[in-house]
Amino acid sequence: MIRLQNIEKVYRTDTVETLALNKVSLEIAKGEFLSIMGPSGCGKSTLLNIMGLLDEPSKGDVKIDNQKTDNLSDKQLAQFRNKKIGFIFQSYHLINDLQVLDNVELPLLYRSTTAKERRQLATEALAKVGLSNRVKHFPSQLSGGQKQRVAIARAIVGQPEIILADEPTGNLDSAMGNEIMDILLQLNKNDGTTIVMVTHDENMAHKTHRLVRLFDGSQVQ
């Protein structure tokens, strides 16, 4: 499903050159639930961003669904992300000025869907994460766990094959974290969604199919 080959990422300033990823190669099968762990600054999020086509590697190839991505235009990349990938972030990234339902509908705005279809799909996605009773609320009226569930609903509303989650439980207490993890596991099990999750939590990581560890930009496990 996702194939990374000899990925290198170097951040350059006028005076400093920082190697964030060093020859990382990784293959993630369809339907797999993979977690990535490592200390802060080891390149976990950079790797996830490269997988999600939010960032481009300095060297190496990224293939998703057997398609090379390095020659895609900005518009094609945007369409690719919209159709294939759902994102979940540690800080939720909800738009505070939009109601829950409108936040969930967002990815569908960049597709040719009718308002009625959008509404229906968003309502179904919210039902999946158990937030049918919060559709008219604004993000500021929700708890952290509820916000992350809205973010999951937004990630799955377009029925992507891949979900990339960057520390989805990082801002939540253990109970809330477990709830979110259960939802992700259900999505992986029931819908066959491929999930890649960056986490600091060993317990969460051990619930996934495979664990990859990074250290100083290199894969150590």
């Binding site: 999020s45 939010l54 960032d55 900005d74 945007a78 994102f87 738009i95 939009l98 960049y110």
Partner: protein
């Protein structure tokens, strides 16, 4: 997407209120400026109604003391003949002090039935039309036979004709200057004269023929000269006049110069308004630019998110520009509501068309201003890399 943007704008109405107010105030000021400009331009493109080239105005005061009206008339008729006999002089005409492009005015009503129209009143002789090259539209100009007419003849401008008679016939109609006393017969209609310069409209006007006693108080002489009339001839004319009218204060002015100074005087309020408007527009442009720039920095997380979930750089840029244009549209709807009151309530007595054109120009101007101010911030937003934007949040 439009519905989504409206929802976003509505939910951020408090933040958008100041920006919209700024756009609204700008629209109203720009509307005032454009109204003035359209009004001036409309007046400017209309003909002056008289020929100011090679036309001189002689200012004098009557110093010929006599009780005999005939003697007075003969005195000035001889003066007229003397001047007219000069080779550079084409026509000479005596008239009241309120010649076009002067600061003097003589205003009163012109009445017909129940209609009363404030008008300029001019007292002129039979040669005035030739001297000024006035365009006669209907009827005739004054002639010697009018001296014995039982009913006093008058000539009116086409503006006064339209105001008094609408589409009806003016010639032969009886009008008056006092209430319910219609003792003047309209014998001619001339094209209106822009007496206050190129940028002012031709006012409603009524022309009276001088009568036997008029020379006692008339103080202006229009002298139409040939194009080769130079300073030497002007000196010669001055000497002739000074010798003939002893003790009179004589001054010769050129209509071309009077037109220039009058136009400049009329342009001053517009120039001042334009300067004020220019600084205001610069302020508004910088304000809009700053607010949109600030919004982009404040909304980097949202921009990053939109890029992540499927928005291309172009669509992010379009969204920000569209948001600004929607805000401008909402402000313009409110602004147009206020602006439309001017023609509806006939404020300042201007034609509705002037306000409508000014409104359209102001709307186009504000849209262009907002577009220009939002294009660069929008382009900057498109250039933000999604990973960077999401990280900054």
């Amino acid at each position: 997407m439009i519905k989504h943007l409206f929802k976003l704008i509505w939910n951020k109405k408090k933040q958008n209120f100041l920006l919209m107010s700024e756009m609204l105030v700008s629209f109203l000021v720009i509307f005032a400026v454009f109204t003035l400009m359209v009004y001036y331009y409309n007046n400017y493109k209309k003909t002056m109604g008289f020929d100011y080239e090679n036309l001189w105005v002689v200012n004098y005061n009557n110093t010929y003391q006599t009780k005999s009206t005939d003697s007075l008339n003969t005195f000035y008729e001889n003066l007229r003949q003397t001047i007219k006999s000069m080779p550079q002089v084409k026509e000479v005409s005596f008239c009241s002090d309120n010649v076009p492009l002067s600061q003097n005015q003589n205003q009163g009503n012109a009445n017909y039935k129940n209609i009363a129209v404030s008008s300029d009143h001019y007292t002129v002789d039979d040669n005035y039309r030739n001297a000024m090259n006035l365009q006669l539209l209907e009827g005739r100009w004054f002639n010697k036979a009018d001296a014995n007419a039982k009913i006093k003849p008058v000539i009116i401008s086409d503006e006064l004709r339209d105001r008094l008679f609408g589409n009806g016939v003016a010639l032969g109609k009886m009008i008056g200057i006092e209430d319910k006393k219609f003792d003047l017969r309209v014998v001619g209609v001339i094209q209106g004269v822009k007496a206050r310069g190129d940028y002012s409209p031709a006012k409603t006007a009524i022309y009276w023929r001088i009568d036997t006693g008029s020379y006692r108080w008339l103080g202006k002489m229009m002298v139409k000269v040939t194009p080769d009339a130079d300073a030497a001839f002007e000196g010669k004319l001055y000497k002739t006049l000074a010798n003939y009218m002893k003790d009179s204060n004589i001054e010769i002015e050129h209509m071309v110069n009077k037109r220039k100074s009058t136009n400049l005087f009329n342009l001053v309020p517009m120039i001042v308004t334009l300067i004020v408007a220019f600084f205001l527009v610069i302020n508004v442009a910088l304000g809009l630019f700053g607010v949109l720039w600030y919004n982009i920095n404040k909304r980097k997380g949202e921009i990053g998110l939109r890029r992540a979930i499927g928005a291309s750089g172009q669509s992010v840029s379009s969204q920000l520009v569209s948001e600004s244009m929607i805000l401008a549209t909402l402000s313009l709807i409110v602004g147009t509501f206020f602006a439309i009151q001017f023609p509806l309530l006939n404020v300042f007595d201007l034609k509705a068309g002037i306000y409508i054109v000014a409104m359209i120009l102001s709307i186009i101007f504000i849209y262009l201003l907002v577009l220009v101010c939002s294009l660069y911030p929008g382009k900057q937003a498109a250039a933000i890399y999604p990973a960077v934007a999401l990280h900054e949040e």
